[in-house]
Amino acid sequence: MQINYKLQDRFDFVLFFSGIALIIFGLAAIYSSTVNHPTASGNFQRQILFAAASVVILFVAYALPAQTFKMFTLPTYGLSLFFLVAVLLVGKTVYGAKSWFGIGGFGFQPSEFAKFATILMLANWLTYKNRDINNFIDLTIALAIGFIPILLILLEPDMGTAIVFSIVVLALVFWSGINLFGIFVVLSPAVVVFASLFGVYPFIAVLLLIIAALLFFRKDLFNSITVFVINLSAGFFFDYLFKILKPHQQKRIESFLDPSADPLGSGYNALQAKVAIGSGGLFGKGFLEGSQTQLRFIPQQWTDFIYCVIGEEFGFIGSIVVVILFMIIFLRLLDIATKAKDKFSSLVIVGFLAMLFSHFAINVGMNLGITPVVGLPLPFLSYGGSSLLVNMLMLGVVLNIYKNRKLHT
């Protein structure tokens, strides 16, 4: 047990400063998009407070003993489920989704906290001895741990967060060593659901494909039929779910599938974001000079569409720098995940990576018009305290794991 580590060995500066750099980019973009705004001009100062608080939380998480998080997984998960239920009962409806607690002047999003809790819970459960992810029952339980919060979040309804959760659960299951058939079982319902969006014939075609795949895997009849029934019911369940979606969410999904269907509706933001980024050019229009931003073409730009402020004002160069910073974080996370001293730590990092990455990919994707507009913030950059605090907490946990990666318990 060596005590005299170099500081670089105990603290991943690249990871930390990449995060800080993204926060600074975010602050600049928030300032630019709100400085002339009649109602949101206080957001910049508030975000600075959040940023400061989040750095404190990061160091707290970094300083805590290694086992702390594992110890608190179950209560944290329980608490987060409680919040998710409570928010459905007493929450505040923002943009058609009941996903907020109003506490004083600040809002709190339990789904952000639930991401953290679910990752810990799932990682913890998957690392118990004798867990076999390729065992049908274990897999089902693992998926259930993930899908309970997903269901609650879908009830809010918050489509974007539910998608992120699904990706996180998939990533954790994948990382814990699922085999090809397992992946097929987990992924095939998603394919069926997606196909069902396009109508009856694609739905039937995909079901036929699944039958063919089941024949290929040559599993026993019971397993095969079970998987097929799961797929079939997933299709119908989703159809039912789609009908209970709020109209604005149905519109979003429809307008993604056919963007020209409603150009002034939910496609408006996507188009305006694209115009903002596109008009930025190579070097951008300059800080505070972005006309799309300054003329407030994109409503609530400082949240989900913060990336197009950077695209417009800092141009291609700025946009690429942000993407590269994210990539550095992702690759560092993956690196630390492979070097972590135990499976739990590794799974936690991959869960966090999946969460960050899905936010990033979907958010930047919707700014560029390649994914649907599903109300997801861009980690570290978007305005919003809950998201920033949770992300920095997770980063602190990762740094903690990094610090302890060579320690033996």
């Binding site: 408006y268 596109g278 008009s279 492979t338 990455f357």
Partner: protein
């Protein structure tokens, strides 16, 4: 196991990374121009509402120039597809009754932005404005409208396509006429609809101010019509006319012929658009004589009836021949003006000190811009005394070796006849804001008193003589006594005076006792009748006559003037009663002299010979001219013999031989001779 899965995840990361970078490159670099264009097109840039340009009105409120709000439609061909072109063509062909292919062709062949319908009237465009087709947009396109066409075109001027004044009042008062464009910043909702106007950042549209001119529209119309009629009748290159109130300096009318249409100014030559009344200088010729005589009267250098030897109209001074067009052996000072004798003026000019002549001509405003509120005024030229040659003063006394603008001449004449005060001429009466506040009101501005009241009265009386019995008889008015002075100057062409190109001018005023109107007429290079008295004076007469008819207040109590025709009788009477009288009286009917003969007694081709005995040659010539009788004169002085006896029948072909003798002054009348 973990490593292969990590590799798999790294692969996903890289795929996403490459995808995002490729997409970023596509929209930010490759399609940057397209998105920039889109951004520019749709952004709720503050809407600028262009302010309406102010009106230009005549003195009595006639709107001479206003702004109409037209709409021009444009199509951005880069944003067109077949469907859009079709619907645009269908829409416009329906509204404007033009074939569909007209629009299609225009859009298909156009590059970037194409104007498919320019300056459509608002009534037609109002429906089209509401239609939204991507790539089609419109712009409010103001047009300046001149309701009376070319009326007062040189005064009003014109504006360029950006509605900025280029000439005339439109230029000089461009700042006052231009309003403040409104600037509206809109709050929009998610769908881009305008929700409200941000009042803090917006400013309202303020229309331009109105300019009220001193121009009397009916005078202006009369002046323009008579100028162009005169130009037609006498030929000539151009004509200038100014009507002014001598007591205030207000320009009541100002016209140039040919004129132009300010709405389509680009179709006219710069020649036609030039306001010659103040941009062109010319040598004034005889019209300067009244001014020079007034200076001498003011300085007591001459007496009204002192006799000058006018050398039968031929006088060699310093090897230069000075000649008169109406030759006389001798003339009084008064007659020298009436007959416009260059010889007489030359001889009188010797009495005048160079400096005094210069000082007074400066005082009358020559070689100084009058500072009228119109652009591009010329200053003219006046030699300084130290640059006078031996001939300068003589030439200046009959209007050469100095150049003036028509406006300077009429201003100087106003001072001559109004009691001696030079006023600054002005053409803008007031500037009124669109809310009705008077921002500026021009009051008559006295520059200086040039001559005394008595000098003014006397020279006025001399000029009445010019019209009544001198070179300006063609300017006589029926209802009111007018005065004036003719002017004919050879034009300096290629450094020598042309004998075929003249400036024929006349400056007149009425009513003679208290002039209300001074009018200036100049015809450049008339082809028929080069003399001012034959070309410009008749135009003055027609203009004045029509003004009096049109404006009842100008000469309120019209009384027909009965003019004495028989000058001999008067002359005899003068001789009998000793020539004490310094001014002659012109009588209105009903006061006295009811038994006066009618003015014209030669009707048809039969009449009787008048008695010419004892009359001066000039009177005889004038009288015989009027009769249309041919004549031959020998000798100088007063008539001593006439070949046709008084009272005998004369015919148009008759020739009358007249003998004169200068010793007659001492002789008694012998009517039997």
């Amino acid at each position: 196991m973990i490593n292969s899965r990590a590799l798999f995840l790294t692969g996903i990361l890289l795929i996403v990374f490459v995808t995002l970078v490729a997409k970023l490159f596509t929209i930010q670099i490759a399609k940057n121009e397209y998105y920039s264009l889109l951004a520019e097109k749709q952004q709720n840039k503050p809407v600028v509402v262009r302010a309406e340009r102010g009106l230009i009105k005549g003195l009595n409120g006639e709107v001479l120039s206003f702004t109409r709000d037209y709409i021009s439609f444009f199509v951005d061909t880069r944003m067109m597809n077949a469907k859009r072109v079709d619907s645009i063509a269908a829409l416009f062909s329906k509204v404007f009754n033009k074939p569909k292919f007209f629009y299609k062709k225009m859009i298909d062949e156009g590059v970037n932005n194409v104007c498919i319908e320019k300056k459509a009237p608002m009534e037609k465009a109002i429906e089209l404005k509401k239609i939204v087709i991507e790539g089609m947009f419109y712009q409010e396109d103001f047009s300046r409208v001149y309701p009376y066409g070319s009326l007062a075109s040189h005064v009003i001027g014109y504006v360029n396509k950006d509605i900025v004044g280029v000439e005339g009042i439109e230029k000089k008062y461009n700042k006052e006429l231009t309003g403040t464009d409104g600037y509206f910043v809109f709050e929009r909702d998610v769908l881009g609809r305008i929700v409200s106007v941000n009042e803090k950042l917006s400013s309202p549209t303020v229309s331009g101010n109105q300019i009220i001119l001193t121009i009397n529209k009916s005078y202006q119309k009369i002046l323009e019509e008579e100028l162009s009629a005169g130009l037609k009748k006498y030929g000539g290159e151009s004509a200038v006319g100014i009507i002014m109130n001598p007591n205030t300096g207000e320009i009541l009318a100002l016209a140039n012929s040919p004129d132009f249409d300010p709405a389509n100014y680009q179709l006219f030559s710069a020649e036609a658009r030039r306001n010659r009344a103040l941009t062109d200088t010319y040598e004034p010729g005889s019209t300067i004589k009244s001014i020079v005589l007034a200076i001498m009267l003011e300085k007591n250098l001459i007496k009204e009836d002192e006799v000058i030897d006018t050398e039968m109209g031929n006088y060699i001074y310093k090897n230069v021949k000075i000649s008169d067009s109406h030759p006389f052996a001798s003339l009084t000072v008064r007659e020298a003006l009436e007959q416009s004798s260059n010889v007489g003026m030359t001889k009188l000019s010797f009495r005048l000190n160079d400096d005094i002549l210069y000082k007074y001509l400066r005082d009358f405003g020559f070689s100084n811009a009058t500072q009228i509120d119109l652009p591009s005024e010329a200053e003219g030229l006046l030699k300084k005394p130290d640059r006078f040659s031996g001939l300068t003063k003589a030439f200046m006394s009959f209007g050469y070796e100095l150049s003036v603008t028509p406006l300077q001449i009429i201003s100087a004449y106003s001072a001559l006849v109004n009691g001696g005060t030079l006023h600054q001429p002005y053409i803008v009466s007031s500037v009124v804001s669109n809310t009705g506040n008077i921002l500026l009101e021009n009051k008559p501005k006295k520059i200086r008193t040039v001559i005394s009241k008595s000098t003014s009265d006397k020279i006025k009386d001399f000029m009445v003589g010019v019209v009544e019995q001198g070179t300006g008889t063609a300017a006589q008015l029926e209802d009111v006594i007018a005065g004036g002075k003719t002017g004919t100057s050879q034009r300096l062409m290629n450094n020598s005076y042309s004998s075929s190109h003249h400036n024929s001018s006349f400056v007149g005023f009425f009513p003679a006792d208290h002039p209300k109107i001074v009018a200036f007429i100049l015809v450049n290079a008339p082809q028929i009748g080069k003399y001012g008295g034959l070309v410009a004076a008749p135009i003055f007469q027609k203009v004045s006559k029509r003004m009096i008819e049109a404006d009842l207040n100008l000469v309120p109590s019209k009384k027909k003037i009965h003019r004495k025709e028989n000058f001999v009788e008067q002359l005899i009477a003068d001789l009998k009663t000793a020539p004490k009288k310094t001014t002659r009286s012109y009588l209105n009917v009903g006061e006295k002299n009811e038994n006066d003969q009618p003015r014209k007694f030669f009707n048809g081709n039969r009449t009787t010979m008048p008695n010419l005995m004892n009359k001066s040659i000039r009177d005889v010539v004038a009288q015989l001219n009027e009769l249309g009788l041919k004549y031959k004169v020998s000798g100088t002085g007063k008539v001593v013999w006439q070949s046709i006896e008084p009272g005998a029948n004369i015919y148009q072909d008759s020739i009358c031989i007249i003998k004169c003798d200068s010793s007659i002054k001492k002789a008694t009348t012998n009517s039997n001779l």
